[in-house]
């Protein structure tokens, strides 16, 4: 299955390629004087899957909200293909901590929401929504209401909705945090399968080291008070990852490495 997946194919930062996302000297101070982010800098190449992990209060969610233009920076630079976050919203989608579905809309109407808001005509919407529901394995549930779905299914709907606008930057704020481990693992695998097909760039906030290692090609370990990037660890697993990846020694070794880095931050 991953016979042709050699480490050479990895999306490590090639020096000549321009960065897709550039963050330089980013500082965010809350109105109450709290220093949430102190001088944060990183770059993301197109196709990167970057996880942000760290103790609570390290500002990882704030970074996502800044990249989405949902909150304003205090100083520094954020550029997404040279655009400000606000202007880059057309190519950006956000997946929230909870599924954040609208309970009065059916599954298909929830997925269609962003398309509807962007003014996509009805028949095009319908076509796209049914394709997306098929992609996340929910085509039979299109007429159900969110309250009739399990937590994992709700999250699938939420991801389908985020992908509906064909984003090139996907920001995910601990999307699977509330799910049980088996559901979470399965959704992790599905997320990578979707990424193989759609080639977006992702920022993923999580509390789970295993999840971060499984999904990412880069993990940023963050420290708190003030929030800053403590260390970056490259995840040199083959890009095609399956359930068996979790049993490979290298995967376990990387988990150890990230955990150790997290201990430095906590200690």
């Amino acid at each position: 299955m991953h016979a042709n997946a050699t480490p050479a194919e990895e999306t490590t930062s090639a020096p000549k390629q321009p960065a897709f996302v550039t963050v330089e000297g980013l500082i965010k101070t809350f109105p109450n004087g709290l220093n949430v982010l102190q001088n944060v800098s990183f770059r993301a190449m197109a196709g990167d899957f970057i996880s942000l992990i760290g103790p609570s209060g390290c500002g990882k969610s704030t970074i996502l909200r800044l990249l989405a233009g949902l909150t304003e920076k205090t100083s520094g630079t954020i550029a997404i293909e040279g655009l400000t976050p606000h202007n880059a919203r057309e190519i950006t989608s956000f997946v929230f901590q909870e599924a954040t579905l609208l309970p009065w809309r059916t599954v298909e109407k929830n997925v269609a929401l962003t398309l509807e808001l962007e003014g996509v005509p009805r028949d095009q919407r319908k076509e796209k929504v049914s394709a997306l529901l098929k992609l996340v394995g929910l085509e039979e549930f299109s007429r159900l209401y969110p309250r009739q779905l399990s937590g994992g299914m709700k999250m699938r709907v939420s991801i389908a909705r985020a992908l509906a606008s064909s984003p090139r930057l996907l920001l995910m704020d601990e999307p699977f945090g509330a799910l049980d481990e088996m559901t979470r693992n399965r959704l992790n695998e599905e997320l990578l399968r979707l990424k193989q097909q759609q080639k977006w760039t992702a920022f993923f906030v999580t509390h789970s080291v295993a999840e971060a290692v499984f999904l990412s090609n880069r993990v940023l370990i963050m420290a708190a008070r003030p929030g800053r990037v403590h260390r970056e660890i490259a995840i040199d697993l083959p890009p095609v990852r399956t359930a068996e990846t979790r049993e490979s020694p290298h995967y376990l070794e990387l988990i150890g490495k990230v955990s150790a880095a997290l201990h430095e931050v906590h200690g």
Partner: protein
């Protein structure tokens, strides 16, 4: 067990209690031999109804119009104002305290003013019912419109949705349960408002008027059995109002809201 059987079981005790109460009441009348103008028995009231059905219906229709008029007007204006409050926090902060204050004014105290300005008759009663219905609608609908989750708002912001899109695609559907809570409280108030209003501004011709006016008239004429019949009719109107609002609520929320779907097995 069928739904019907379940309903029978659930309501059996209150139902039995009702007939026990009626029976005891009738017994008290028979034994005590009280004068009918002081305390009529259930049978006195019931046997009176057929002969005065025309009068009852006339009063019912009149009061119904006033209550429904006040209710509908307060629904339209209350929801409209709440929408304005949801768009502009400025206006909301300025005016919402007055809505609460308005609620504390006994409407009975200002009804003489309303009669002074509107004249006696149906319109004045409508205005009184309207004023009783308005505050709970504004308060509940506003609360529903502004208590939207931040994540849901951010979701719309990510699509650069305008204030109006946010209002009609997010806030308004989210507020539907609160809208019905407000309407249900107001539906009770509408009947009370119309009834009380009529005791002040009830009729333009002597002896003919809505339920409230007729009740006052019956009291003066010591037609106590008829007074009871009027009370019974008013209660039925209140029930009917409540029923209409509940049916509409069920119809609008049946698919998605917990308050309506809670009884269904999962």
């Amino acid at each position: 067990m069928t739904k019907f059987k379940k309903a029978v079981v659930r309501y059996r005790l209150p139902f039995v209690l009702f007939w026990v109460f009626i029976g005891l009441w009738e017994l008290l009348i028979r034994i005590g031999n009280y004068p009918v103008y002081l305390l009529p028995g259930p049978w006195d009231v019931l046997s009176l109804i057929p002969s005065r059905l025309g009068d009852l219906w006339f009063s019912f229709a009149l009061t119904w119009e006033e209550a429904a008029g006040g209710f509908l007007a307060s629904g339209a204006i209350g929801i409209g104002l709440a929408l304005v409050f949801a768009i502009s926090p400025m206006i909301r902060k300025c005016l919402l305290p007055y809505v609460v204050l308005f609620q504390t004014i006994p409407i009975i105290a200002i009804s003489p003013l309303i009669i002074l300005w509107c004249g006696s008759g149906q319109f004045a009663v409508c205005v009184i019912a309207f004023m009783i219905c308005l505050p709970p609608i504004i308060a509940n609908v506003t609360q529903g419109l502004i208590s939207v989750e931040q994540n849901q708002i951010d979701l719309f912001r990510m699509s650069n949705a305008s204030t109006f899109t946010l209002l009609f695609k997010l806030r308004l559907p989210h507020a539907m349960p609160s809208i019905f809570t407000g309407l249900r409280i107001a539906s009770g108030g509408a009947v009370v408002g119309a009834f009380v209003g009529e005791t002040f501004a009830g009729s333009s011709s002597v002896g003919q008027g809505g339920l409230g006016y007729a009740a006052l008239y019956a009291q003066n004429q010591t037609e106590t059995a008829y007074l009871f019949a009027l009370i019974l009719t008013s209660s039925l109107m209140g029930l009917f109002f409540f029923f209409i609002v509940s049916i509409t609520e069920w119809f609008c929320l049946r698919n998605w809201h917990e308050s309506v779907v809670a009884d269904q097995p999962n």
